[in-house]
C-alpha cells in the first residue's frame, strides 16, 4: 500500500498585466488558490499538507471559503460555479452555470445564503448574484459594458454589492433584490480589485492607474484617496484589508507591497513599504495579496509567495515557491545528509525541495533556456531544450555555474548520464546517438532507425537505444564506437523510457502501448513481464536504490510499483497521483517514491509493506 507523505504544491497561475485573487479562511489559517484545473488549499503553518480539488472540467480561476468555513465555492473559465463541502469527501452541493464566459471574482454573503459572481459575459450579464442552494437570481446587475474584474459583498447588513471592471467604472448596488444605485468613474484605467473592510464601513478600489479610492460603505459615496506621494509607481493589482478595518495592503507592478492606514475621513496615509528580495526582472511584480490574521501574503508574477508578519513588519519574509507548469522530470540525491529533490518544468524552472522540510529554493540559472530532457547525477546537471544544444551545469548549493553548451545537430530526444562517470553522456537524437565526454562530442553515430529513448549503463560500458518500432538495440561502448550486441523485440509500441537498475544487473523498458518489461542485462532475457496494468502510455520509470522495485508512471494519472521478484499482479497502485498525467518519477529511498505531473505538483509517497 502507498500513502501520500508530502505534497510540494504548485503556485497559482499568473498572467502578465493582470492581478490574481486568492482567498483564505481566517479561522483555520488556510489559503486557497487555483492552478490549471485544480483548486489548491494550503495551511500556512503546515506547508506540506496540501489538499487539491480537481473536479473542474475547465481551468479554475477563483475559490472562496464560505464565512462559516464549511463550504467552498470555486469557479472556472467556462462560467461554472461549483459549491462543495470542505471536509470529508468534498461532496458537491451544487453546480451552476452562472456566466457565459470566465468568472473573475466570487463572493459569499456574510450569512452564507447568497453568492455574487462576476466576470466576462460576452455582452450579456457580467455579474450575477444567486442563492447558494437553489441558484435563483437575486437581482439585476446592469451598468457594466466590459469585463468585470472584481466584486465584493458588504459584510454587514444592509447588504450592498460593489463591482468594478475594465470599463473603469465602480458600480454600487443595493438590495436584496439588488438594483443599481450609483456609479463612479474615479479611475482612468482598469479597476482591478474592490474590497469591503471587515466592519463594512468603507470599501476601497484599486486600479491600473496607480490610484486607490476609498468610499463610504453604506451610501457608496467617495470619501477619500490613498495619498499619491509615496504612492505606487505601477498598476495596483490587488488590495486586502487588515482585520481591524483600519489598514490595507496593496500590491503593485512596481514590485512593492504597501501598507496604508485609512483614516475615518477616508484618506489613506502610507505606513510602510514592503519589498521582497527577488532576482530582478518582471517575475518580481506582485500580483496578489491577502491579509489574514497576522500574516501578510504576497504573490509575485513568477509564483513566489512572501509571508510577512503583520506585527513585525521589519522581519524578512518567509519565501516559498513552486511550479506553475507541468513538472516534466524529477531527480533525487543526497546532499549534506538531506534528501534533495530537483524538479524541472518545460519553462526552464528547476526547483529544489528538501524532503521533510519543503521548498529549498530555485536553482538560479543565468539563461532562460527551456527544458525538455533533464538528467542529474550528484552535482552535475545536463539539460536539453527545444533547440539543438545540450547544456551542462554543476550545482553549488542553489546556484548553477554558467552553462556551457554544445550543439548536437538536431533536437535531442533523450539524455542520459553514466552514474559512475558523469562526464560521459549519451544524447539520443532523431536518427542516432551522440556520445559526449565533458562537453566535447566524442562521436556521432547515425543508427538508421527512428530513436525514441535511450539509456547508458552506470559504468558507461553499454548503451540501449529504443526505437519507434518497439525494438531495443543493445550496444557496447568501446572508446568512441558503438557495437551492436543484440536486438530485443517484445514491445508493441514505440519505446518511451529505458532505465538501468542501480546495481546494473537488470534494466526496465516501457512503451507507448502501456506495457513495461524488466530484462536481465547479462542474459538479455525477460525477467518480469505482463506489467500491462496502465490504461494509457507510460511516461516515466524509476528503480529503487536496492534494485528490488520498479515504479512506472503514466498518462492515466496512476503510478504502479512492482517488485521484481514477485509476479506483476501483486503491484501497488497509486491512483490519481497527478491530475492530467504523471511525467516524472524517482525513488528517494527504499520506501519513498517521488512523482510529479501535469498538475505542477511534486508528491512523495510512502510505501508500506503489504
Amino acid at each position: 500500500m502507498a500513502e501520500l507523505a508530502e505534497t510540494y504544491a504548485c503556485v497559482p497561475t499568473t498572467e502578465r498585466g493582470r492581478g490574481i485573487l486568492i482567498s483564505g479562511d481566517p479561522k483555520t489559517d488556510t489559503i486557497a488558490y487555483c492552478n490549471g484545473r485544480s483548486v489548491i488549499i494550503r495551511r500556512l503553518d503546515r506547508p506540506l499538507e496540501v489538499s487539491v480539488y480537481g473536479e473542474h472540467a475547465y481551468p479554475a480561476t477563483i475559490a472562496r471559503f464560505s464565512p462559516n468555513g464549511e463550504w467552498v465555492a470555486s469557479a472556472d473559465v467556462s462560467g461554472t460555479v461549483r459549491i462543495w463541502g470542505r471536509h470529508g469527501d468534498r461532496a458537491l452541493k451544487n453546480e451552476f452555470r452562472v456566466l457565459s464566459g470566465r468568472i473573475d471574482d466570487l463572493q459569499w454573503s456574510p450569512d452564507c445564503q447568497r453568492i455574487v459572481a462576476c466576470g466576462e459575459g460576452k455582452g450579456k450579464s457580467f455579474v450575477r448574484a444567486f442563492m447558494w442552494d437553489s441558484g435563483t437570481n437575486v437581482g439585476e446587475f446592469d451598468g457594466h459594458s466590459r469585463r468585470v474584474l472584481s466584486c465584493t459583498f458588504k459584510p454587514t447588513r444592509p447588504f450592498r454589492i460593489v463591482t468594478c471592471g475594465e470599463d473603469f467604472l465602480v458600480n454600487f448596488y443595493e438590495g436584496p433584490p439588488f438594483r443599481f444605485k450609483l456609479s463612479h468613474r474615479e479611475h482612468s484605467n482598469f479597476v482591478n480589485c474592490a474590497r469591503y473592510s471587515p466592519d463594512g464601513s468603507k470599501f476601497i478600489t484599486v486600479s491600473s492607474d496607480k490610484k486607490g479610492v476609498v468610499y463610504d460603505g453604506k451610501t457608496g459615496e467617495k470619501m477619500g484617496e490613498l495619498s499619491m506621494e509615496d504612492g505606487h509607481k505601477g498598476s495596483i493589482y490587488a488590495v486586502s484589508w487588515g482585520p481591524d478595518s483600519k489598514q490595507v495592503l496593496t500590491v503593485s507592478a512596481d514590485k512593492t507591497a504597501k501598507i496604508w492606514e485609512i483614516m475615518d475621513n477616508g484618506s489613506g496615509k502610507l505606513k510602510k513599504t514592503l519589498s521582497c528580495p527577488g532576482s530582478g526582472g518582471i517575475d518580481d511584480m506582485l500580483v496578489g495579496c491577502l491579509w489574514q490574521n497576522d500574516h501578510l501574503v504576497t504573490i509575485s508574477l513568477g509564483g513566489t509567495f512572501s509571508l510577512f508578519s503583520a506585527s513585525n513588519l521589519d522581519e524578512t519574509p518567509i519565501q516559498f515557491s513552486g511550479h506553475m507548469k507541468t513538472v516534466s522530470a524529477v531527480a533525487s540525491f543526497i546532499q549534506n545528509g538531506q534528501n534533495i529533490i530537483l524538479s524541472s518544468s518545460y519553462d526552464g524552472l528547476i526547483n529544489k525541495w528538501i524532503q521533510g522540510v519543503g521548498y529549498g529554493g530555485r536553482l538560479g540559472k543565468k539563461d532562460n533556456a527551456q527544458i525538455k530532457c533533464f538528467a542529474v547525477v550528484e552535482e552535475e546537471l545536463i539539460i536539453s531544450g527545444f533547440d539543438n544544444t545540450v547544456r551542462r551545469y554543476s550545482l553549488h548549493g542553489c546556484e548553477c555555474s554558467d552553462a556551457e553548451s554544445i550543439d548536437v545537430g538536431s533536437q535531442p530526444k533523450d539524455i542520459n548520464l553514466a552514474v559512475q562517470s558523469p562526464e560521459l553522456a549519451l544524447v539520443a537524437t532523431d536518427s542516432g546517438v551522440t556520445i559526449l565526454r565533458g562537453l566535447t562530442t566524442v562521436s556521432t553515430i547515425n543508427l538508421g532507425f527512428a530513436v525514441t529513448a535511450s539509456a547508458i549503463a552506470p559504468d558507461g560500458s553499454e548503451a540501449i537505444v529504443g526505437g519507434q518500432d518497439g525494438k531495443l538495440h543493445i550496444y557496447s561502448i568501446r572508446g568512441d564506437t558503438l557495437t551492436e550486441e543484440a536486438v530485443l523485440e517484445k514491445h508493441r509500441g514505440a519505446i518511451s523510457v529505458i532505465r538501468y537498475s542501480p546495481d546494473a544487473s537488470l534494466f526496465a523498458s516501457a512503451d507507448i502501448n502501456r506495457e513495461a518489461v524488466v530484462w536481465d542485462r547479462v542474459a538479455k532475457e525477460v525477467k518480469l513481464k505482463n506489467m500491462l496494468y496502465h490504461t494509457a502510455r507510460i511516461n516515466c520509470l524509476a528503480w529503487s536504490p536496492d534494485s528490488r522495485m520498479v515504479a512506472t508512471g503514466s498518462l492515466d494519472t496512476c503510478v504502479l510499483v512492482y517488485e521484481v521478484d514477485k509476479p506483476a499482479s501483486s503491484r501497488i497502485t497509486i491512483k490519481g497521483a497527478h491530475l492530467g498525467g504523471v511525467y516524472g518519477l524517482a525513488f528517494s529511498d527504499e520506501n519513498s517514491v517521488i512523482s510529479s505531473g501535469e498538475d505542477a505538483c511534486v508528491r512523495v509517497w510512502r510505501l508500506t509493506g503489504q
Partner: protein, 143 residues
C-alpha cells in the same frame, strides 16, 4: 439427428456437448470452469477442457493459451459485504492481442451465436491481455 443451423456471419455451429457441459456447470456444479475452442475443420464450437470443482482461478488461467483465442465459462464464488456466499457465472471471451488476426475474427463473429446458447450467464468479460484476467476484475464486476 439434430439439425445444425449454421451461424449467421461465420458459419460456425455449436456442438450439443457444449450446451450439456454448460448445464452441468450451472445446475449440478460439477465443473469449476469449461474452456471452448472453435474447431475450424468441423466448423463448430467444441469443449476443449473442463476443470473440476476443486480447481482454482489460477489453474483456469494456466489452461488458457497465451497466443490463441478461446471462450470460457467460469463459476466464481465469493462472499458479499453482507456475508452471503454467492456464486456468479462469468463468460470470458479470451482474445489476446498477440494471437493471429484470423483467429480473433473467427472468435469475435461467432461469439454472439454461441453465447445465446448458454442461458443464465451473469457477466461477460472480454480480455485481450493477461492482466485483464486478474481475479480483481471478476471481483469488481461481481460486486
Amino acid at each position: 439427428m439434430s439439425f445444425r443451423r449454421s451461424n449467421a456471419s461465420s458459419g460456425m455451429g455449436v456442438a450439443d456437448h457444449c450446451k450439456h457441459t454448460y448445464l452441468e456447470l450451472q445446475r449440478k456444479k460439477v465443473h469449476r470452469y469449461v474452456i471452448f475452442k472453435i474447431d475450424e475443420k468441423k466448423k463448430e464450437v467444441i469443449v476443449e477442457k473442463t476443470g473440476g470443482a476443486a480447481e482454482t482461478y489460477d489453474d483456469f488461467r494456466a489452461s488458457l493459451p497465451e497466443n490463441d483465442c478461446r471462450y470460457a465459462i467460469y463459476d466464481f464464488d465469493f462472499v458479499t459485504e453482507e456475508n452471503c456466499q454467492k456464486s456468479k457465472i462469468f463468460f470470458i471471451a479470451w482474445s489476446p492481442s498477440i494471437s493471429r488476426i484470423r483467429a480473433k475474427m473467427l472468435y469475435a463473429t461467432s461469439k454472439d451465436r454461441f453465447r445465446r446458447e448458454l442461458d443464465g450467464i451473469h457477466y461477460e468479460i472480454q480480455a485481450t491481455e493477461p492482466p485483464e484476467l486478474d481475479i480483481e476484475v471478476l471481483r469488481e464486476r461481481a460486486s
